[in-house]
């Protein structure tokens, strides 16, 4: 016998309708929530990009402290901006936030080359000519002394290169080299007196650029870094010699020490600054953007010669420079060995010594050249060396520390983002 039970049927139907309605409400809620999330993300992305562009167009001194601003004077358009001086480059940190949502980007900032002033060679005018011999090749514009450039017969070998001697414009150099940026040098010099934490035993350390710089201070104790990986916002400081073994992996960190020794076979990306010397072993590879620099603001009465020496078949992509505020009797020098390659810029406040097969793809500023064979020391001779500015990547960017760099800022490398 069938039962009528109309109330029972109605409850079942009501339940079904209730479930459908609930589903509808839930679907609408989540759709709306996700859409609002996407809208917020899009808006934050546009604000973040605006913040990045704002950092790239402001003067160097702005935003050294984290500053929060409202971009357009409207709601939900706040960004926090900060520029951190990071060796010869700058680091930009931009955060865009609204309510609980924050997106950020950290990036390094560099300057493109000034094509009007860019040259393969700038040798200060010391009232004597530059002599070339062997398989020397100079490609790109060259600023030469008034006495000019000439071929020479060295080690029983004549000049074997292009008859034009310089494959580019020959321009006249000044008595003095264009100076380095004083503000940047002051900032670098300041790092030699920082104090930080005593390094603990560790095998790897990564520090975000959104956090304060992690300073590891080795003080007066010579130390060797080995089997260690360091990345990001880390500064190593030593008042004496710091040795970097080939088992050490360095990524974007800064090193400030009295003397730095880099062991044979090292491969990494870092900026090394010493007040006395940097000695790089054979077959080392410094990836772009790296830097080797001598910064000496105080010269003692019996100071050793400030120098950068690079072992054979090493490659440096970035910048190599020497600077001494008041050079003593013995001037700072850069010594490259056989088959070394530098992709970027070399600025030697005084001299630079080459060996056979050295290649500089980029730009070289110096006062004089040195070449020494078994018996003789030649001054202002370029022998079996290639200086080629046209082989440098068109995307290369340098630091405003050096001359021939435009004031325009660009993003060198994205470091962190979420």
């Amino acid at each position: 016998m069938l039962r009528a039970s109309a109330l029972y049927l109605v409850i079942v139907i009501a339940l079904v309708i209730g479930v459908i309605c609930s589903s509808l409400v839930v679907v609408a809620y989540f759709y709306r929530a996700e859409y609002q999330k996407k809208c917020r993300y899009d808006k934050l992305s546009h604000n973040l990009l605006s913040g990045v562009n704002l950092l790239l167009t402001t003067p160097d001194a702005a935003y050294l402290q984290q500053t929060k601003i409202s971009l357009f004077g409207a709601e939900a358009d706040s960004v926090a901006l900060q520029i951190i001086a990071w060796g010869i480059y700058d680091i930009g940190v931009v955060k865009a936030f609204t309510q609980q949502d924050t997106i950020y980007k950290a990036f390094s900032i560099a300057n493109p080359v000034d094509s009007g002033k860019w040259a393969a060679l700038y040798i200060a005018d010391d009232d004597r000519p530059l002599s070339v011999s062997g398989k020397t090749r100079i490609e790109g514009n060259a600023f030469l002394p008034k006495a000019g450039i000439q071929t020479a017969y060295v080690d029983n070998k004549a000049y074997e290169g292009d008859k034009r001697l310089v494959l580019g414009k020959k321009l006249t150099s000044e008595k003095k080299l264009p100076s380095l940026d004083a503000a940047r040098l002051d900032a670098l010099d300041h790092y030699f007196s920082v104090q930080g934490d005593k390094p603990a035993s560790m095998d790897s350390l990564t520090q975000s650029f959104l956090k304060p710089t992690k300073i590891l201070d080795f003080k007066n104790k010579p130390y060797t870094l080995n089997n260690l990986s360091l990345k990001g916002n880390i500064l190593l400081h030593s008042d004496t010699t710091l040795t970097i073994d080939s088992t050490t992996k360095l990524d974007n960190i800064l090193v400030f020490a009295k003397a730095i020794i880099v062991k044979e076979g090292f491969n990494g990306k870092c900026q090394l600054f010493a007040s006395d010397s940097i000695a790089v072993g054979k077959n080392c590879r410094f990836n772009y953007p790296s830097c080797l620099g001598i910064v000496r603001s105080k010269t003692a009465a019996f100071s050793l010669q400030a120098k950068i020496t690079v072992g054979e078949t090493s490659t440096i992509s970035g910048t190599v420079f020497t600077w001494e505020k008041s050079p003593g009797e013995i001037k700072p020098i850069i010594r490259l060995s056989k088959k070394d390659t530098v992709r970027g810029q070399i600025y030697s406040q005084h001299g630079i010594a080459f060996k056979d097969g050295c290649v500089v793809y980029g730009s070289l500023y110096t006062k004089y050249f040195l070449y020494q064979n078994s018996f003789t020391l030649y001054e202002n001779y370029l022998i079996n060396v290639e200086l080629n500015s046209r082989q440098l990547s068109s995307y290369y960017m340098g630091s405003n520390l050096l001359p021939a760099i435009s004031k325009k800022k660009k993003i060198l490398q994205w470091l962190e983002e979420n």
Binding site: V10, A14, A28, S50, N53
Partner: protein
């Protein structure tokens, strides 16, 4: 054949009139509430037109070239009228503030987008 009595083999138990009335009231109430919920969800849901307008503005901003940063302009893209205004940001001529607004056919604002752009920046 005619006049023959219909014989029903099973007996069906009928609902009372009170049961039917209560059922009807409940079902009407449930349907009423369901309709209200549906209407609310439909009313509160996002306008497809606004979403589309926002996407159009993002695309316009992304494709904006240096030549377009020199003057204000109004253009029609699909169903929308896009109004673009450009001005130096905070007195800085190296940085341009671009404001985009999208309107529908009745000139009702649907979406807007603001961004700072460096002119002649190829990165």
């Amino acid at each position: 054949m005619a006049g023959r009595k219909l014989r029903i083999a099973t007996r069906v138990k009928a609902s009372t009139i009170l049961e039917v009335v209560v059922s009807m009231v409940i079902i009407i109430a449930v349907f009423g509430v369901a309709m209200m919920i549906y209407a609310n969800v439909t009313r509160m849901s996002l306008s497809g037109q606004k979403i589309k307008a926002q996407a159009v503005l993002s695309q316009v901003m992304k494709n904006m070239g240096s030549a377009e940063l020199s003057s204000n302009q109004e253009s029609v893209i699909g169903d929308f009228t896009v109004e673009r205004s450009v001005k130096p940001y905070d007195g800085n001529n190296n940085l341009i503030e671009v404001d985009l607004k999208a309107y529908d056919k009745n000139h009702i604002p649907l979406a807007e987008l603001h961004q700072l752009i460096i002119p002649n920046n190829d990165q």
